[in-house]
Symmetry: C2
Amino acid sequence: MEPKAAPPARVDRLQPARPQGLVVVITGNGKGKTTSAMGMVLRACGHGLRSCIIQFMKGDLYSGEWDGVKRLGDLVELHATGKGFCGLRGNPYGREEHRANAQAAIALAREKMLSGEFALVVLDEINNAVRHRLVDLEQLLALLDDRPERLHLVLTGRNAAPEVIERADTVSEVNEIKHAYRKQIEPQPGIDY
Amino acid sequence: MEPKAAPPARVDRLQPARPQGLVVVITGNGKGKTTSAMGMVLRACGHGLRSCIIQFMKGDLYSGEWDGVKRLGDLVELHATGKGFCGLRGNPYGREEHRANAQAAIALAREKMLSGEFALVVLDEINNAVRHRLVDLEQLLALLDDRPERLHLVLTGRNAAPEVIERADTVSEVNEIKHAYRKQIEPQPGIDY
């Protein structure tokens, strides 16, 4: 006779002897980079930790996380500071405008990082912003140098610079094996945006 | 003079002409698979969509998402049904016990999937459970065959079976480039659990 499904005899809880902030980079061309950062924010909430999300190059196209994080209450701040993907066909804004927004965003990132108010700061699409030179690599490296020791910093976007990967603690590359849009399936709410 | 950072002139909203459910697989050996699924749940909440998360092989070790999703209110159900990673050193449960829990979990998955109550069902670590034969591949494929057309199904865990990838719409492989634990950094709350 098969044993019955029963809960585990006990639930363990990890507790690091040495809490420390990590630099996490999520890069690659597949789906699940921003999404992964949002998952870390949700997880951090479970520990009662406060997060600040700053989205680069995003702000012109609604995405569900904008309202999703509101349900997490005062544990999360989200700033969608951008004007879409610079250079993408149909985007009506000039390079200078994109750069002005990204420059304001990196200044905001520094302010939030140093405020002492957050355990986790997400710079969403920052790798992309650096790749498009809307933010200078040196600006991002200076931010990494000035990171408070206990602060987690999560950097997303494809084409992460080697210098950023070098300085990170954990780096994942998300690769596309297949994607629904290649079958002409439209983006679906909840999954794609 | 650089232009001032200003919000975009307008915010667009996508709306698919043909809403449809997607099968999304997040596999690979890197950090960010469960995390990515949690991000989709958070995003779905922003659209007012309800999600059900069923965690296979997890339930013996606290993770922040257990409390994180509680903050999302009645839009999310989470069931951590497992007893840890079968075969992992130190895990005190026998294979039969792990299988009994996974079998109860797959039955629950079917029930939730067919209930009509959810837009998104996450089967967290299901790929791993299939790999360890706690769930038979045929059981998972039957579940995929019976998926309601409008339901999104997200399957996580390393070693996704080729037959599952074949049936999926979107598949990402998360590869480890580096991970903090290789530098003997302990798992940190909010990031790793």
